[in-house]
Amino acid sequence: MNPVYTRPKSLTNVVTHYCPGCTHGIAHRLVAETIDELGIQGRTIGVASVGCSVFAYNYFDVDFQQAAHGRAPAVATGIKRVRPESIVFAYQGDGDLASIGMAEIVHAAVRGENITVIFINNAIYGMTGGQMAPTTLVGQKTTTSPFGRDPGTQGYPVKISELLSTVKGAYYVARFSLHNPANVQRAKQGIKKAFQNQIEGKGFSLVELLSTCSTNWGMTPQNALKWLEENMIPEYPLGEFKTGEGE
């Protein structure tokens, strides 16, 4: 029998700790498929961040470093500078990347570090129990914006892909969504591009993936996917914001 769908070689054969319905599983799979297809498993080094994906190193069958909160791009920089022949990727959530790690991600892009960043944007802090993230939508209720995010005191959602697209050193910046199969396939192509860029030495690539957190959003997985489509995509439009170095 010829299996048509199997576990990617670059994923370990373990049960993840992610909640049922969480899109981390899809994102992990897409990254692992990419690593397999590009034949880079033996020279890929991942960087896990702080958040739900802190244990990503348990699921990817590649060398991994676990970074301090927000510092994954700096850690990835250190790895890549020592091992330029390696393929280095950071996997970060929105609390990690867009809040505490804002300086590290912007300056990794400014330096044009030849790394790949997978950025999971689910508009909330997942692991700590559903607090407001910089990406939380206006009016969205979280445990620290219990009456809905109020732009008067809590500001507006930060748009990382748009922001990084203004950085000359960034080579590839794109936003995709994981809410349905067609978009998952597009995301896969973007992720593959982001790794291919690194193999070709083109520089900094970031792929933002709109994701769900049904647990902390308080929704069923199906409703969470629907909420993402109806609420996040209007705020965070999909597409490739930057392809190629320069203004």
């Binding site: 080094i45 069958d61 590649v62 470093q65 990835a76 250190g78 020592v82 300086a103 300056h107």
Partner: protein
């Protein structure tokens, strides 16, 4: 052995690091250590190395984490406020057991403080500046030559114990010039193999660099395993110098540049027949308790001199453990103890004119005559 060169302390330390096989440096500008970064920016490339100026000390030390985890021989340098910013990552580096060398050319604090020499980072360096049960190996050179020699030692200790090592200097040793002799550049092939590093898992099981242990039993075991390592460091890596240990009755206790001031005072006092000596800790952690054991029976008293309000003196008291009086004299914020003031404090101690040893005598520093 190569020729003797007249060099500024910061630049000499940078050259010593290159000669010791360091090929990766991450920094961020802060006075008074910028010459280390500048030297590395100019010279590291000649040796096939990499210099990166980060956007902050927070980022630079996390680059060190990544680079050390990838098997590089890595140096970082900063000064007091910058070292404070690095403490989180230093804790991670110790927790994940990564080797690196950190230079702190310390300056006066707290807060923004000043840019002049100080020794007020002793607590931060030796007692764990970051969170958790961990230790830094801390080495304190008194001369530029010693700093250069300790640089190679620091890298070797870092690799041997898979632990961060700090070279704790001050603005004085960073900024002054002295003749220095360097060893030849170390052959990169002689550096230790690091089978635990993240280099890509081709042909082997994957390597993971991490400091997270959510299971309490696992974290407890991890901490005690680290403690066992630190016990070995305590047993094997104590470094110190004793001057006139064979006949001295009164001892200065001082490290780094202040030890040199005390040495000058000792020469003068011994001409007058005063039997005075010096205990100079070179490893501040592990602290050289054994140096005190060697002299405590004969000693009549110890005078700890520091450029702080009294930090190392606490370890001196622990080592002496009440058996003999321990006095303190300190200046802070870039005010360097003068030989005259140091001599007067020692004579006061001998003459029984010093106030209680539990009170710092001369609270106003050297301002009083």
């Amino acid at each position: 052995m190569s020729e003797s060169l007249l060099m500024k302390g910061n630049e000499a330390l940078a050259e010593a690091a290159i000669r010791a096989g360091c090929r990766f440096y991450f920094g961020y500008p802060i006075t008074p250590q910028n010459e280390i970064s500048e030297y590395m920016a100019r010279r590291l490339g000649e040796h096939g190395g990499v210099f990166v100026q980060a956007e902050s000390e927070v980022s630079s030390i996390n680059m060190v984490y990544g680079a050390a985890g990838a098997g590089g021989r890595v140096l970082i340098s900063s000064s007091s406020p910058g070292i404070s910013l690095m403490q989180e990552a230093i804790s991670y580096i110790a927790g994940a057991e990564l080797p690196c060398v950190i230079v702190n050319m310390s300056r006066g604090g707290p807060g923004l403080g000043g840019i002049q020499p100080s020794q007020s980072d002793y607590f931060q360096s030796t007692k764990g500046g970051g969170h958790g049960d961990y230790r830094l190996i801390v080495l304190a050179p008194a001369t530029i030559q010693e700093g250069c020699d300790l640089m190679a030692t620091a890298f070797d200790l870092a690799d041997k114990y898979r632990n961060p090592v700090m070279i704790l200097g001050d603005g004085m040793i960073g900024q002054m010039m002295e003749p220095v002799v360097f060893p030849e550049v170390l052959d990169a092939a002689s550096l230790p193999h690091k089978p635990w590093a993240t280099t890509g898992n081709e042909g082997r099981e994957r390597n993971i660099i991490s400091s997270i242990y959510l299971d309490p039993e696992e974290l407890d075991a991890h901490n005690w395993r680290l403690e066992e390592k630190y016990r070995k460091v305590r047993e094997n890596e104590v470094r110190y110098e004793i001057l006139h240990g064979d006949d001295a009755e009164w001892f200065f206790v001082a490290y780094g540049t202040v030890a040199r001031i005390c040495t000058a005072v000792i020469q003068r006092l011994r001409k007058d027949g005063v039997k005075v000596g010096l205990i100079r800790p070179i490893s501040l952690w592990p602290f050289p308790d054994e140096a005190f054991e060697k002299v405590v029976d004969r000693a009549k008293g110890f005078l700890t001199v520091e450029m702080s309000t009294g930090q190392m003196v606490e370890d001196v008291r622990l080592a002496v453990n009440g058996r003999k009086p321990v006095y303190f004299y300190g200046r802070t914020g870039g005010a360097v103890p003068t030989p005259r003031s140091v001599e007067r404090r020692l004579r006061d101690m001998i003459d029984g004119k010093a106030p209680s040893q539990t009170d710092y005598f001369d609270r106003v520093g050297g301002a009083k005559k």
